[in-house]
């Protein structure tokens, strides 16, 4: 564990892998460190946003003193089923990068059980990890300026669904009609950390 300063409003904790991030995140949510106002988990780091006036050194000390046992991705017990039309623009590229056929890419994506590890990039954008290492592909070398809402994509070992139309550099597999971010709901984000996700191949009804 390495603790880095982010000015006087943040402490960035760097750990070995995602499992440790998730374990530390769960530990700090269950038993918060005084002065910490928000937690931002990511692939290798957990950012602790602190109140101005809180001593970052004290927060750093309190975190390193924690005995955290990394485990599997923590699950919320909730499973979300997302119907997807697999007609994404990057399906051929993903097939080529993984050495699979288009069909096999779709099968691997729908057979995997995905779990939301953390959110970021945009409100409601969940970074999902799965049990299909063959689907690991890098991002596109150039990001698209406009990725439609509902696009289902892959990059860097994660899968994700774009909550709204935005720029994006992930490889597009298909699209879902399910609204994954909706402020009219009590809990606007469908893909919260710990939620399990299964993708189902949907017929294009148009």
């Amino acid at each position: 564990m390495r603790v880095l300063r982010c000015g006087d409003t943040g402490v960035l904790v760097e750990v070995a892998d995602l499992a440790e991030v998730i374990a530390l995140h769960a530990a700090l949510e269950a038993d918060p460190v005084p002065g910490v106002v928000d937690l931002v988990p990511a692939a290798r780091t957990l950012l602790l946003r602190i109140d101005p006036g809180t001593d970052p050194e004290e927060v750093a000390g309190a975190v390193t003193a924690r005995d955290v046992v990394p485990g599997e991705v923590r699950e919320s017990g909730e499973t979300v089923l997302l119907p997807v039309v697999y007609d994404g623009e990057d399906l051929d590229d993903v097939a080529e990068l993984t050495g699979l056929s288009r069909r096999e890419v779709v099968q691997a994506h729908t057979r995997a059980t995905w779990t939301v590890a953390f959110c970021g990039f945009a409100p409601g954008f969940g970074y999902m990890v799965g049990d299909q290492p063959r689907l690991r592909v890098p991002r596109r070398s150039e990001a698209r300026t406009r990725v439609p809402a509902g696009s289902v994509a892959l990059a860097d070992g994660f899968t994700g669904v774009y909550p709204r139309c935005s720029p994006g550099g992930w490889r597009l597999l298909g699209r879902t009609e399910t609204r994954i971010w909706d402020l009219e709901r009590d809990r606007p984000g469908l893909l919260r950390p710990g939620v399990r996700v299964r993708f189902i191949e949907a017929e294009d009804l148009r």
Partner: protein
């Protein structure tokens, strides 16, 4: 019959006017950033002047140009970047409690220095909060839509306390040059020692590509000491993120929650209001 609600009708917005408060807390885990007033000091001042409770929503303008009409009598004040004010054509002062009778029109000119001014109203701008805040996050597309001519902004009930002063003295914000204090890191080890010296000795200029998300700076390039991609990580306001081109971007209120380029240093929270008032052309120096 209840009297109709008091409101501010927007007549003109200038380049960008948004509703802002202290921002959103506790939703970073869902990918929702803090947002909130970019110059939190001037925003807090306008509420103190009006005896509003902390966190009452105000209007943040960028380069002035805002015109509002009072529906019902309202009490307002303007802080932040110094702007010429007129009420129905007659001159009025900033940093002063102003009473607008029903139908009166307040016109804000362009600031002489600085970038962002705050129009506060006694009772606060009472639009519905989203995830606990009335702030518009322009990057995430959260919060109230930015007002346009014709938008009617409801005014909340007046607080119990009354303004204790009519006017607050203040030091002007903005100017051709500014110095911002930084703390190095979290990723200064991604840069050469010369790059860190350059950051702390060179002069940067705020480019026209500046908004609530961040200010792109032009100046000496900061060389990396290592190649490769950094996994995305959480960011704070004030981060000096360095994209592959080597010129830093200074993150402001609506910065992305996570970012994929290394942050060489972070501006101290106390200096963020100054950073938010640095308009295009401002020359910036960074010191420890």
């Amino acid at each position: 019959m209840r009297p109709s609600r008091r409101a501010l009708e927007v007549v003109a917005t200038g380049p960008l006017t948004t509703v802002q408060d202290e921002g959103r807390f506790g939703h970073a885990g869902l990918g929702v950033g803090r947002s909130g007033a970019a110059d939190i000091r001037s925003y807090a001042l306008v509420n103190r002047l009006l005896a509003n409770p902390r966190g009452a929503a105000a209007l943040e303008t960028t380069l002035g140009g805002l015109r509002v009409r009072a529906h019902g009598p309202v009490t307002v004040a303007v802080t932040g970047a110094e702007v010429p004010l007129r009420i129905d054509g007659r001159g009025a002062a900033t940093h002063t409690v102003l009473h607008l009778p029903d139908g009166a029109e307040l016109t804000m000119g362009a600031p002489t220095t600085g970038l962002r001014s705050y129009l506060g109203v006694r009772g606060g701008v009472d639009v519905p909060p989203v995830l606990g805040s009335r702030s518009t996050d322009v990057l995430a597309g959260l919060g109230p839509d930015p007002p346009v001519p014709g938008t009617s902004l409801p005014v909340g009930p007046a607080p119990e306390g009354f303004p204790r002063v009519d006017h607050v003295p203040t030091t002007p914000v903005g100017g051709p040059k500014t110095t911002l204090r930084v703390v190095l890191g979290p990723r200064e080890d991604w840069f050469t020692a010369e790059a860190v010296d350059t950051l702390l000795s060179g002069e940067y200029e705020v480019t026209p590509r500046t908004d609530r998300v961040g200010a792109r700076l032009a100046g000496p390039v900061l060389e990396r000491s290592r190649d490769g991609e950094m996994p995305s990580e959480g960011m704070v306001a004030g981060s000096l993120q360095v994209p592959p081109g080597g010129e830093p971007v200074l993150f402001l209120a609506d910065h992305p929650v996570t970012g994929g380029y290394p942050v060489v240093a972070v501006v101290r929270a106390a200096d963020l209001p100054k950073a938010a008032q640095a308009g295009p052309g401002t020359r910036v120096r960074f010191v420890l």
